[in-house]
Amino acid sequence: MKTVRLILIPLLFLVLPTLCFAQSEKEGFVQTMTFKPGIGFEYFNREVNIFSKNEDGEWVEDEADSRLKSYFLTLSLEFGLQAGFTFTPIIGYSVSDYDSLIFRKLPFSIELDVGGINGYLIGAELKKSLISAQDFEIGAAGQIMYYAGRKQEWSVPGLNVEGSIQGRPYWLRGTIGPVIEYKGFDSVFPYLSVSYNRLWGKFTLEQEILDLTGEEEKKVTGKGAVVLSPGVIYELTGALTLKGEASVIPRKGGIDFGALVRVMLSL
């Protein structure tokens, strides 16, 4: 089921723009494409479930949970494909921190508490207006973001021989849901989105202590599937737009948060 979702969400992001283009052509619209390059900063801090493989190769949930904190700087390019329809590819650089992962399948068990690991981000956003009523506009929006951490190496302390471990984290986040936007003001457009959000990740750790080697993989899933995101788009000038958004992710036993700020330039 998780594999199906992993395939479906990226596909959705690929197929939706294609369908929209096809519809535009059929209806004979003549559309001038707009471009808005942007730079942004995003942060999230979420509780995650950790899974390890058992002896039968099945994934089972660890007793201990963890947290994933991630900060990222993004460069985006918003394509206005037609009125109310935008597609925004994103690239970026992230520092992501899995809090205290314990690897017990390696020859020497390891508790990894190494702080943030740098890595690259790639992703895309899609937004389509569907209904306009008076000053309100209802649309649908989705985002997918993939982080690939750089491989890091740490020495293993305390043993009587030299040894090291190498680790590499990944995560994939998908979000899709409706957005309601208020268009009643001149240059400030508040909005609220309620979206379905999933976070998957993995962390691979390799151990090499002279002739003693091992590898262990952890799978990670974010807790909480619904995200409430109030935000605002503020047109500072005709050419400069500021977007700010907060994310609230309720989950069993608490609430997680995220935030986003993006500055976009209209070309």
Partner: protein
């Protein structure tokens, strides 16, 4: 026909009393009754102690993470760890605030469910003689009661870190330690619940491996005596069980053929670890084949180096297939009688080690426990560790488990002999390093 005689590698052997070990057998300690020790109380820590600069705090579940962070900053505390599931924060206090002050202040905050000291807990073994088991936890204590003269005082931390390791695992009852020796007292109160079966006796050719010497019971107790039963001692492998295999006669000697059969029988009857606190001076292809058979069947063989101030005995000297164990004392020093050579893999405490003695061999009015020296005592400490590793990581090969034991040892004689040496091998075993996750922090980055 193999007619070479093996000698039990312990100082309590009848045949070869050592000059430097002048204690008589059985020692005078037999006059002490259990209730007289520790005033009859279970051996648990008394008094309250906690980390002087830390507290544990639980916030109301409704409090958002950002608010928690802000609260922690307001109190000038630093988050050391958040314990998931139960959502408790381990906090480091500013230097100018005491635990009591911070708890009082935090208890006034409506967002905080509770704040409490980070108390210190102890492994809950209530075994009456545990305080003499310096090999498992050396606090600098005297290693025997005052009624036994000549007992030394230990050096703090000159031990195998067993209590820390037990926080990670106490072993799996499915893991069997075969004790190839003089047999085991199958009804000894401190091990009878840990005996897997009556075993096999290759001396008398029957299926009753009852000990008629005492050495095997002493060895088995070190590896796997019942722990936390308010009685006697704690074995290294709390939950693992013992498979008795008698290959040594009541004089403490045995033919290689008995040993070889014993190894084969133990492997074929489910042993995961074989303890051989014995050895012979002469190599034997048959004996090597037997330990090779065990190795190939993923059974860890741990054997004593010997007590002759000489080279490593066989089968311990079969380096690929066996872990050869030398002795250390309560100060982490190698006694002069511990055999040495390139085949020594690791060392473990083997001086003034208290363990079980068969009830039926104990003189009336004495307790069935005894102190003794020898690499015979060192070996079951290592066998117990091997069983704990096997319990928690059954997927590791025998070779990997042997390597974990070697690499995790503390090179306690590094000042004199840095690195692997002929006296301690890689060093004195450290069960904590072998079992407990090693913490990697940002400072470990290469």
């Amino acid at each position: 026909m193999l007619m070479v005689i093996l000698i039990l590698t312990t100082a309590i052997s009848f045949q070869y009393p050592r000059k430097e070990k002048t204690r008589e057998f059985p020692p005078k300690f037999f006059g002490k009754r259990l209730p007289e020790l520790n005033n009859g109380r279970p051996l648990v820590s008394t008094g309250v102690s906690y980390a002087p600069d830390q507290i544990l705090v639980k916030f109301k579940p409704s409090l958002p993470a950002q608010a928690v962070s802000a609260t922690l900053s307001a109190y000038r505390t630093k988050k050391m760890k958040r314990i998931p599931r139960i959502n408790v924060y381990q906090l480091k206090l500013p230097e100018d605030v005491t635990v009591e002050e911070m708890i009082y202040v935090m208890s006034q905050n409506p967002d905080i469910e509770y704040a409490e000291p980070n108390y210190k807990a102890y492994i809950a073994t209530n075994d009456t003689f545990f305080k003499y088991q310096y090999a498992l936890q050396n606090t600098g204590q005297r290693v025997a009661p005052p009624s036994i003269p000549g007992a030394p005082t230990g050096v703090q931390a000159a031990d195998t870190r067993a209590t820390k390791a037990w926080e990670e695992t106490k072993g799996d009852e499915q893991v069997l330690i075969a004790v190839i020796d003089t047999g085991v007292d199958l009804n000894h109160p401190d091990i009878k619940n840990k005996i897997f079966s009556s075993g096999q006796d290759f001396v008398n050719d029957d299926s009753d491996a009852t000990d008629d010497n005492g050495h095997g019971t002493w060895v088995a107790g070190i590896a796997a005596a019942e722990a936390n039963n308010s009685e006697g001692i704690a074995g290294v492998a709390w939950n693992c069980r013992v498979l008795p295999v008698k290959t040594m006669d009541e004089e403490g000697t045995g033919f290689y053929s008995w040993i070889i059969e014993g190894i084969r029988w133990a492997v074929d009857n489910g042993a995961d670890v074989i303890n051989m606190s014995l050895g012979g001076d002469v190599p034997s292809q048959s004996l090597e084949s037997a330990v090779q058979y065990a190795f190939q069947k993923d059974v860890i063989v741990v054997a004593a180096a010997g007590n002759d101030s000489d080279t490593v005995l066989y089968p311990g000297a079969y380096d690929v297939y066996c872990l050869a164990v030398a002795a250390t004392d309560a100060s982490d020093e190698v006694p002069g009688w511990s055999n040495a050579g390139p085949e020594v893999d690791v060392a473990a405490p083997g001086v003034w080690i208290v363990s079980l003695f068969p009830e039926y061999l104990t003189p009336s009015g004495f307790l069935p426990y005894i102190w003794g020296d020898g690499t015979s005592a060192s070996t079951p400490h290592v066998a117990g560790l091997a069983a704990l590793i096997k319990s928690i990581k059954p997927w590791l090969t025998v070779s990997e488990i042997m390597t974990v034991i070697r690499y995790s040892a503390d090179d306690v004689n590094s000042a004199e002999y840095p690195g692997k040496d002929e006296f301690m091998g890689y060093g004195r075993i450290n069960m904590e390093k072998a079992l407990v996750p090693i913490k990697i922090t940002t400072s470990s980055r290469q």
